[in-house]
Amino acid sequence: MANDDIDRANDFALKIGTVNGTGSTSANAMLMQVIFRMGVPVSGKNLFPSNIQGLPTWYEIRVNKHGHLARTPDFDVMVAMNAETYARDIEEVVSGGYVIYDSTHPLDEELMRDDVTFFGVPFAKMCLERFKGARVRILMKNIAYVGTLAALLDMDVDLIREMLAEKFASKPKLIDSNMQAISLGYDYARENFECPLPVRMEPMDATSDSVILTGNTAAALGCVYAGATVGAWYPITPATSIMDAFKEFCGRFRKDPETGKNLYCIVQAEDELAAIGIVIGASWCGARAFTNTSGPGLSLMNEFLGLAYYAEVPAVVFDVQRAGPSTGMPTRTQQGDLFTVVYASHGDTKHIALFPADPEECFYFAVSAFDIAERFQTPVFVVSDLDIGMNDWMVPRLEWDEDYTPDRGKVLTAKDLEAMEVFHRYEDVDGDGIPYRTLPGVHAKGAYFTRGSGHDRYGRYTEDTEAYKDVVDRIARKIESAAAAVPEPEVRMAIDAPFGLVTIGACRGAVLEALEQLEADDIEISYMRVRGFPFHPSVGQFINDHEITFVVEQNRDGQLLKLLTVETGASKDKMTSVKYYGGFSLSAHHVVQGVTEALERAGRVPAGKV
């Protein structure tokens, strides 16, 4: 709650309501950046419609000196720039909070609240007088609210000037006009309101080892660093920006120094079926290849994924989940693809999956995904979501180990083949379930027939029971053994805690924040975040070691809980679901509330607590 008595420096949330297509993105990015450069932990969530222009859009910024950067629905400050959404925007402000609105047109009396302070700033009027051209006026109106917030929240205006100088180094005129807009908002606030507010900024030094980036950017960079050369895709929200970023990075870092030609090939396919087919073809030939998609695309890829699984062809698939089923809510987040990913395609299949929690893990897991896909000769999924993929996250600076060498798996060279009597594609020579493979064009002895139809260990067509089972049973063993190759779970054990909590992906921040709150109320809970599938053996153990394990995830059906039941052998009765699947990012209060309710149901709430 915003309150004059409590020091609210570097601990507040603000929300900005605008109309999409008006250029508010750069204003909001500027806000994020200035907070970050003042050394204060910050996160941004872009709530946007599946639309290009004219619909309401919001940007949420959370400033938290403790580093709690999950979404919070408690907004101390609302910048209401869209009259169409005034009513709900004003309603969302916490009691004691502040609303900044465009007072060019008077605010409907009925929208006023007694427990909230209103700051009317004539943004439109001021910009009309100062700037020429309709488009410029609209853009500058957004920049002007940055100025007003700078005054009210005590942001460093010199930093803003510095940022603009960097951004528009080649267009000095824009530095001036943007600074003019900043000053309009800033000066008006200083002259008319008491600045700063109790919710305000204070310089810190908590961001110097961090960067701000999205998961999709990080995943794309991981592909570049892993040495991926072929990317195939079909545009889909929220996965598109992976290939956009890959293309941009490749344009900068992947040009042949002599010829200027591309050391990569990106194919925008006709659909997701073709996209995954292209990846399979490229991987079959020995390239590191990937595709990026979301739920609907993943559904289309199913047949091909079964082929890659059975014919044992590597493939890397980034699934940036959005709210389903069907087209669902394309610009809202969810973790609803867990089943679809791990059991993709008909028949008996099971796929390796990695579950990053943030952009940092998107980068490192992208690299691991190629290593694991080639080592196990099978599709590997990197399963993120819209929140991770498209929102701005503050994460530790990425590092690259110069000693990294790609794990290309068991690929026979021409020399190997020359020395061999005979090569059989699907023979378990080493007893680890992973056969040797050859690449086309390398050696005549390496030739074999890749097929999705029944085949024996020699790669020959078969309809024979034993020969068929020999291969599919080995593949099952192979995939199971990947449990040791995927990233281990992240674990934080509370001493002697009777309760455990298992979660996945982007839930991390909200869960850790919630656990701190629960701990303050003497509810001790051990934490585990699964980061890979097949599950590490410690996952089942963790569940069995606790009386009750809360499974926190973002889908309606408790897919993670069900997967844990089926795939770890842990008792279903020991687990209880805490779910949030409304499409926005998970907040700590969802977790606290879910856990508390579950404890109450179990009769386990300490008296007088929570």
């Binding site: 701000i212 072929v230 396919a269 073809g281 990425l398 790609p406 086309p440 005549a444 067509y461």
Partner: protein
């Protein structure tokens, strides 16, 4: 039994190609198709074309989808990698393979079900990308493996073995390919090896997507009276529009080329394709003319054959994408990974 290999005994007097290989070196497993299947004749022509061009078998990759035709990749070139993918999706696999390794010779074998129904979109887009490959469409008008349903190439009025009459208009792969911009379009007949082999050789040499629609009668389900894809119907209704001869690079060009009625087109590697129009004024380098000629001949119930259209200077997918000349699979990791210093520098932009 596609894995049954034929005995490797060679007659010492067998003809050898420039690599010192015999035709037998280009053979594959025993065919399991029906006796008399057109597809097996096409396989023989493919073997002949690869043999004559002296392509090292292990430098070729054979790809196919699902269906009788798609089985044929197993019946030639044992020493080439083969990929029998999923129904109608071979063009995507070929696109990816070619993106990764542009130096291999790619041949795709498909059928009318694979290409014109389930995989119609894939075919069109592989053409648009101009993937450098030879695409052989073994066209028999029926689904063989599922026992005789009409395919999308079945003509209106054609009668199935069970006596049903097809009412749906056919998709003609040749007209389709011309419409979506194919740079090499041919039609032939499985029974006409003399015509087919030079076309296949030219298609393998063409830089870009070379589609060859080969009418290939299904002896089991579509070789009866009332079928327009039977041996008898094809023999009586097909006619050669252009005669094609293929002269590989470094081969001495004979006096034939100097004849008035012969047009020579030089391929990107210096090989030559020579056309002799049989139909009056047919110009295989004029897309619009070819298309309207084909429409007219189709309306008359005729099947025009030959290398019907060739755009010799076409740019393939790699030209569009401006990829390096060497295969991407040959680029060392050190040239692909920007390294830690670059990462550090890059991240200054994210502060």
């Amino acid at each position: 039994m596609t894995y049954i290999t034929k005995p490797a005994v060679r007659h010492p007097a067998l003809e050898k190609n420039a690599l010192g290989l015999t035709r037998r070196d280009y053979e594959g497993a025993m065919s399991t198709l029906c006796a008399g299947c057109g597809h097996d004749s096409i396989t023989a022509s493919i073997i002949q074309a690869f043999f004559e061009l002296a392509i090292p078998p292990h430098r070729a990759a054979k790809l196919s989808g699902i269906g009788c035709s798609s089985k044929a990749t197993a019946y030639f070139m044992n020493e080439a990698h083969g990929f029998n993918g999923v129904h109608g999706r071979m063009p995507a696999i070929a696109t990816g393979a070619n993106a990764a390794n542009r130096d291999l010779v790619y041949i795709g074998i498909s059928g009318d079900g694979d290409s014109l129904s389930i995989g119609l979109g894939q075919l069109c887009h592989a053409i648009r990308r101009n993937v450098n490959m030879l695409y052989v469409l073994e066209n028999n008008g029926v689904y063989g493996l599922t026992k005789g349903q009409f395919s999308a190439s079945a003509d209106v009025g054609t009668v199935s073995k069970r006596g049903e009459v097809n009412r749906h208009g056919p998709i003609d792969p040749v007209s389709l390919a011309l419409t979506v911009g194919a740079t090499f379009v041919a039609r032939s007949f499985s029974g006409d090896r003399k015509q087919l082999v030079p076309i296949l050789k030219a298609g393998l040499t063409h830089r870009g997507f070379a589609i060859v629609d080969v009418i290939s009668p299904c002896v089991t389900f579509n070789d009866h009276e009332g079928s327009t894809k039977s041996y008898a119907h094809t023999r009586t209704h097909s006619y050669e529009v252009v005669q094609t001869d293929f002269v590989p690079l470094m081969t001495e060009i004979t006096a034939e080329q100097d004849r008035d009625d012969v047009t020579a087109v030089t391929m990107h590697d210096g090989s030559t394709v020579m056309f002799r129009s049989v139909a009056e004024d047919y110009d295989p380098t004029d897309r619009d003319a070819a298309l309207s000629f084909l429409r007219a001949s189709q309306a008359k119930g005729e099947v025009a054959t030959g290398l019907l259209y060739l755009e010799d200077s076409s740019e393939d997918m790699h030209a569009f994408e401006n990829t390096v000349d060497r295969p991407l699979v040959d680029v060392p990791f050190g040239d692909l990974c920007p390294g830690s210093a670059t990462l550090e520098e890059l991240q200054k932009e994210w502060r």
